[in-house]
Symmetry: C2
Subunit: 409 residues, 2 copies
């Protein structure tokens, strides 16, 4: 019998805690596993020996259910990058040795790291170090990111919930935008610096006959930069068809004419750090003179667990559970992933692969899913996204406000 | 037997359609009432004779239930201000006569206008005109606004749902903001130009033991302007107590040192129209050098019907129903309102009063509910707000996306 530890890393999502719940439940049921530790603030907790005994914190089925519906990372997070281990440079080894000390002190033989591209780099390096120095510790990566940009896996835990938030909120914004009899343009900025998956997912509204968003702009469509005249032409074309034009734009869109100069606005010389939607708002306002509004969905798209996708939360729990199985089967240096078996009915299976295939890599929307006019996606994209937002979670409310699981409760 | 018409005006909320549903249901059950019309785009529909027969559009109980959960205004809206009627100036009468023509053409004897302060001006003027020219048409105002700034009524339909959205979203943002081990400041901008009700309502989180938001800034607290040094002092004080400081700020806060100068950012000379939270973000970032984020809740706070307050939706329906009773009892020139009977248990009754008491007036948060240090509210405020966000609506989903009632369905 040996102990295990889990940690969470990178940007928050609504499903990271569901994966932790999956690891915890499976490990609790596994006779091979003794204590289950949580490392505070990702790998930093392993370096500093800052662990909490999850067994004595998650003490009931209700605690676990609450944890699954709590957004963000109950164990905290980090953006810490391990140095590449170099056997000829003792300085690079010090940090790894501190981690190994923590493993040994707590008799931990398996470590689960829930995170995105950067976190998979940590999994890869830590696994390589353990193998190099002959330590039999299983290091397993559990993916998560609302960006959906991890290679190999069909989609990532957390993405479906973010997409469901975007779809729900967009549908409501569309209602809001249509009230007046005047021409208007609404530009909604959605997360995704290099990969436009989440922005593209806004096409799901069409499954219910909603034509909006009328224009969808993804970073993948503009490797040569985003041409403003072409954009304004697209908008003008849509204004002829729709009184209230709705535009979904990825935060990663970079207009070629945008000058990131300092603004005198606040007399402190801060550079203009507003998003691309605000910039496009200014340009549309100047060109068309009609009502233009920009909306940033901001962190709400990654933490609105009250509107999480049940499919996503259930899959995220399953992938955590499968990660424990993967370690118990003797594997290490693996990242868990989803493989889609069929779309109708929607079925997936959980697989694992060499974490080096995902670490530090980004997966982009297939080029063939972007329409030739670069301002929309194809029905193939809709078919891919739609199953991921199905089902609603049952949120627990106290005093009319969602209840979350907290470590210090 | 006579016909009636209803219209919706002003900014959208999640509860305006519930009031329309209340009017429709009550009128359908009233033997005195024949046809029920909807005027498209508020009073503009009455001026232009643009009416739809609601009886043939809302054809089932399911339609009505869906309407109650549909945000914004199903009949469209307007920002149209009627001219003051002057019997000595024939030009001012032309518009009123067009409205009267519509009333007579459709045999309408009662008109219900769902709206905010400006809409109550329309109710008042139209009622006065009808009385002046001897037309027996009942004109009744049904309040709505997320700003909660209408006089006489305890609170306004639509406010509770906006407050529930703010509370839910803030609780999730708080989770999101606490993940890293570093100091951070999160500034959330909430609607309310002159009245800080909605921002103040963020205090409800304390009912569940949540200390955040740690600072709450309302326009009412700063009649002399918002002093930046004092604000930065407040933030610094909170940074000593909390690693992740959360600040709720009303969009109507005007920093005294803010210079609304033109920005060179987009090379088009647009003035800086970003919100106060973005400005405060810059100032905190410059002073403290830590991670600072600003979030605008934008239109989501007025249209997120999937997280509407059940109390609000039910009361909004009841107030619409009561408006029909009020007209049937022979009243005109009245605005409906809520009177709070008790807090525990929470009970209200629906009343009406002379619309002139509300038209064009704003109600502000009581000065005694603002703490002496001007950066928080008292427990009295919490007791006032808490009942208004209780209960959750059951949203209907199709393909994982909320279904809304649409006129053209």
């Amino acid at each position: 019998m040996y102990n295990i530890a889990a940690a969470q890393s990178g940007g928050p999502t609504s499903a990271i805690n569901a994966s932790l719940a999956g690891i915890f439940k499976k490990a609790s049921q596994s006779p091979e596993i003794g204590k289950i530790y949580g490392s505070i603030n990702g790998i930093e907790g392993m370096i500093n020996g800052n662990l909490v005994p999850l067994d004595s914190i998650l003490t009931s089925e209700h605690d676990i259910e609450l944890l699954k519906k709590t957004p963000s990372t109950v164990l905290g997070s980090c953006r810490y990058k391990l140095a590449e281990y170099d056997p000829n440079d003792s300085r690079t080894e010090a940090e790894y040795m501190r981690i190994i000390n923590t493993f040994e002190e707590y008799e931990i033989k398996a470590f689960f790291y829930i995170g995105g591209n950067d976190s998979m780099d940590t999994v890869m390096k830590l696994d390589r170090y353990c193998k190099a120095v002959g330590k039999d510790i299983k290091i397993i990566g559990v993916p998560k990111t609302i960006d959906n940009d991890l290679p190999e896996t069909d989609h990532t835990p957390g993405f479906g919930s973010a997409a469901k938030y975007v779809a729900t909120t967009l549908q409501e914004i569309i209602r809001d935008s249509r009230v007046y009899s005047i021409q208007s343009i609404t530009i909604v900025e959605i997360m995704g610096r290099n990969a436009g998956w989440l922005t593209a997912s806004s096409c799901v509204l069409r499954a219910n006959g909603e034509p909006a968003p009328h224009l969808i702009y993804l970073p993948e469509a503009f490797p040569q930069g985003f041409d403003m005249e072409r954009f304004l032409g697209d908008v003008e074309r849509m204004m002829k068809r729709y009184r209230a034009v709705i535009i979904a734009v990825s935060e990663g869109i970079v207009p070629t004419d945008r000058q990131y100069v300092k603004t005198g606005a606040d007399a402190f010389g801060h550079t203009d750090n507003s998003g691309v939607a605000k910039y496009l708002e200014h340009r549309c306002s100047e060109r068309f003179g009609c009502k233009v509004r920009s909306i940033e969905l901001n962190v709400m798209q990654r933490c609105s667990s009250h509107i999480a996708s049940l499919t996503d939360i259930e899959e995220s729990e399953r992938i955590g559970s499968a990660a424990v199985d993967c370690a118990l089967a003797g594997n290490s240096g693996r990242m868990m992933g989803y493989r889609r078996i069929s779309n109708e009915p929607y079925r997936i299976e959980i697989v694992s692969f060499d974490v080096a295939q995902a670490a530090n890599k980004e997966k982009y929307l297939p080029a063939e899913w972007i329409t030739d006019d670069k301002c929309d996606v194809t029905p193939d994209a809709l078919n891919y996204f739609l199953p991921l937002i199905q089902g609603e979670v049952t949120t627990e409310y106290r005093n009319g406000i969602p209840v979350h699981f907290r470590l210090n409760q």
